[in-house]
């Protein structure tokens, strides 16, 4: 059994969800124009993941497995994600308006961020326990935010230099940046080992 802390480190560095599983890329390409937007989205994703990862774990273990309806997992997960995101947005708007105005705009976008659903699916496939699920969810959020923020930083600098071939501008050069960053992240491998 893997220690939860090992899973946390793995999810942030060695098995980064965006760079080595290529999940959550559409929002990564869209949100990495500016560092502050990217960091805000990273915080929002981490927060939602910390909530939804354990929630979906509990629903899968306590409801779906005992009733032998694992087939319904996809449907249940996505409904839980959509409704939880909606709920968080409403609660935040009601009780923490300042927080809501600073990163509330990111919340509706999170429903279609594949990283959220992917965490629930990975947890299901790898049969993590509760603490492993909690650290994996938080680590994944941090890892995604970290990768997106670094890429945003590089893109901001690149805009100042700006001599990208015309057909490669925008998403194309971002893919190259992400590839180089992913190569750099190979340097972390060997630190911890999970499957």
């Amino acid at each position: 059994m893997l220690h939860p802390l090992i899973i946390l480190v793995a999810a942030v560095f060695t098995h980064n969800i965006a760079l080595s599983y290529l999940i959550g890329m559409c929002p990564m390409l869209a949100m990495s124009r500016r560092v502050d937007t990217a960091a805000g989205m990273g915080v929002a994703v981490t927060f939602v993941l910390a909530l939804i990862g354990p929630l979906n774990w509990a629903i899968y273990r306590l409801v779906l497995v005992p009733t032998h309806s694992e087939v319904m997992a996809f449907l249940v997960f996505i409904i839980v994600i959509a409704s939880a995101v909606q709920l968080v947005e409403m609660l935040m708007g009601r009780f923490f308006p300042a927080l809501h105005s600073s990163f509330g705009v990111f919340l509706p976008l999170i429903t279609v961020n594949c990283a959220i659903l992917a965490v629930s699916l990975f947890v299901m496939l790898r049969e993590y326990n509760l603490w492993q699920t909690v650290t994996f969810s938080i680590g994944t959020g941090i890892g995604w935010g970290l990768a997106t923020t670094i890429i945003a930083g590089i893109r901001e600098r690149l805009q100042l230099v700006g001599d990208v071939p015309a057909d490669l501008r925008g998403a194309g050069i971002t893919m190259v940046i992400a590839g180089i960053l992913a190569l750099a992240f190979i340097g972390f491998s060997g630190m911890v080992a999970i499957q």
């Binding site: 087939v71 959509a82 429903t111 071939p165 057909d167 501008r169 194309g172 893919m175 190569l183």
Partner: protein, 209 residues
Amino acid sequence: MNLRKLAYTRPWRVFIAGFFKENAVTYQLLGLCSTLAVSNKLENAIAMGLGVVFVVTISSALISVLRRWIPGQYRMITYMIVTSTFVIIVDQFLKANFPLISAQLGPYVGLIITNCIVMGRQEAFAIKNGVGLSLLDGLGSSLSYFYTLLILAFIREILGFGTLLGARVTPESFPVWVVITMAQGAWFMLAIFYWVFRRAAKLQPAEQG
């Protein structure tokens, strides 16, 4: 004569726009996660591609049938429920008939639900148009995803494993390029494909940066 007329009809234009000019991956930048993750082997790409074609086409048509009864503010959740129903069918089909491919694809089959091509076509087209056109639109877009996946997988499997559909094609002395099968190589491959495709299709360049 009939064939030449066909090229000017609306259904054909809807189909071909999705199929080539508005390629789902390079023009609309949709469905990137799975494009990169499953394109390291041709057989995975075929299974995933056919799954996406099935889900996008059928769910677009179904949304189009239901479009008069879907209330505006609940349409997102309706899309998701419709989509995940079909994804469950694909997942169960793969598990029953191709357990090996299913194990290799892992969570990526489930991620078809959040594959933006599905929701993109439903929101941009199926909710406003008739059943026949929505079917063609879904088919065109998802086939563009399919051939992009095949091209990438073809190159990556030859370079990375030296095989094609599991059969060896390169000589033994030809060293395999391990990085191309991993995520890092996937990024560079897609960037090159994006570059070539946009140049070939003469798309407007994106803004600087």
